[in-house]
Amino acid sequence: ACADDDTTASDDSAGDGGYDIALVSKGFQHQFWQAVQQGAEEAADEFGAEITFEGPDSESEVAQQIDMLQSALDRSPDAIGFAALDSQAAAPLMDEAANRDIPVVAFDSGVDSDVPLATAATDNRAAAALAAEKMVEHIDGEGKIALIVHDQTSVTGVERRDGFVEYIEENAPDVEIVSVQYGGGDHLESTNLATAILEGNPDLDGIYGSNEGSAIGVINAVEELGMAGDLTIIGFDSGQAQIDAIRDGTMTGAITQNPIGIGYETVKAAVMALEGEELPETIDTGYFWYDSSNIDDEEIQEVLYE
């Protein structure tokens, strides 16, 4: 809508050497997003760009993210990296970016729009299915399990829940999901949730935590109840606590994405776009299963963060 205001926007800051790239992510306080930022900064150093990195307080704050994207556009950066909490909500701003010739690279999960030139993301559904597969494997194909998910409505929350649940429904008829609850990724809340689930279902065989905070909540609960080792715990993402729990056997294993890679590839793609190079439509940054057997592999160590 504001196309006529600002036609010369993208020329402004190229003068002082680097490109100005604004990244609007889905969060900033959590370790995962810090790792994405780290990767983005590495790429920025490498390609001589300047980046800013912002994200809303939680993954339900769609409106706050839209405000951040709006402010980022008003700053007239050379390119934008965007991890949409809700693609549709962002559609008008995507159009505005297109009108103002600001290239957009999507990251973390796809943006349902033809504006982004490329998407650097993890396939969350497939990753969650892998987690489910490992769960079934470790509880020998039967038993009761529960899910602690970080969000009920956000894309990542829904995909990591549905990918997991669908795999179980299709491949493991003898596995019963007794409870799916949501702790907002808050460590304390997730701990309390997991405690209550374990109290209510003492015969539980496994729990899956869908992000770092959720997984740590499960570990805390199991340790407090003195049940470490009694059941299979599958986590998601990394961080010191999960790594420690995998090493000491409390946690069976976890799925990790490649957050540093996501950040790196996003900035790299943005720079390439600004230099006029062709971009692949999707840049799969991949996901990995890690447990005590492969945690020290170089390939795994590269994608873990503490």
């Binding site: 951040m68 700053r75 409505t153």
Partner: protein
Amino acid sequence: MKPVETAERTPEAGPEAANGGATLGTSRGFLRKQLQQILAFASLIVLVGFFALANSNFLTWSNMMGILVSTAVIGILALGTTYVIITGGIELSLGTGMTLSAVMTGVFLANLGLPLVVGVLGGIMVGAFIGFVNGFNVAILKIPPFIATLAMMLIAEGLALVISGTAPIYFTDVPGFTSISQGTLIPGVNVPNAVIILIGLTAVGAIILNKSVLGRYTFAIGSNEEAARISGINIRKWKILVYTLSGAFMGIAGVVLAARLNSAQPSLGVGYELQAIAAVVIGGTSLQGGKGSIVGTLIGALIVGTVTNGLRIMSIPQEWQTVIIGLVILVAVYTDILRRRRQS
């Protein structure tokens, strides 16, 4: 002694003129009073000046509109709840009640395919109904406002998720819906409708508060509920009306939000109540009740919106943004306190 003479002298110029109490005034006096209040908040002007100097992209038309648009939802919530707070109450179901209104608007328009006007009015009515229930619980059942609206906050949060099936409802197939927030009514001038709605509601809200019966009784109840009761005012009725009015504003905020996001997001909204109440209190309305102003509330919301936007534009690291916003609120309010103290 000449009582008439003293009564005629300086009708508007008492110490109240600036402190937002209910004062009597002619239409001219009314406007002047509202303007005075805007000027009173020097902090807002200082902030705008500061950011304009710090970053050349700040003082563009597009960014000014951006600030207003991003203030719109919190601002509308805050306007409505100003009444509740002046009665000495509080409204914690603002955020999730707004979400429930947005979800119901989605049900009316996207799921049931009702006509645009009907669906929008329906959404606003849902907000008003939530407010009515709050008012009933507070005025008739005598449940403390904090508890009544806290419970409603949880109930609305849950219901929004239940009704929407925990998934956003999209308005993609509802033509014209997004233009409620994003379109522009005034041709040629690039002012988004969300901004026009915010300004319009401020005007309407200020008139209701300062000139209407409801407004007068709002102040009376907040000032001394017992005295208002023994003066023969039907406290229950007016309190319910105040909460219902606040609910209607909440419903409007829900519609504007949904139109902005082109979707009803069922898990949005927790925490908005605190931001809205903060805007009201920064704007000079007292949580003790009895004192307050609608224009002050708008300014309170704009102060927060401006700082947030300005810091983002300046690319300050996000953790520092939070610290700075905290400090700015403290300084802005303290300056205002000092100014008033000097005045009296």
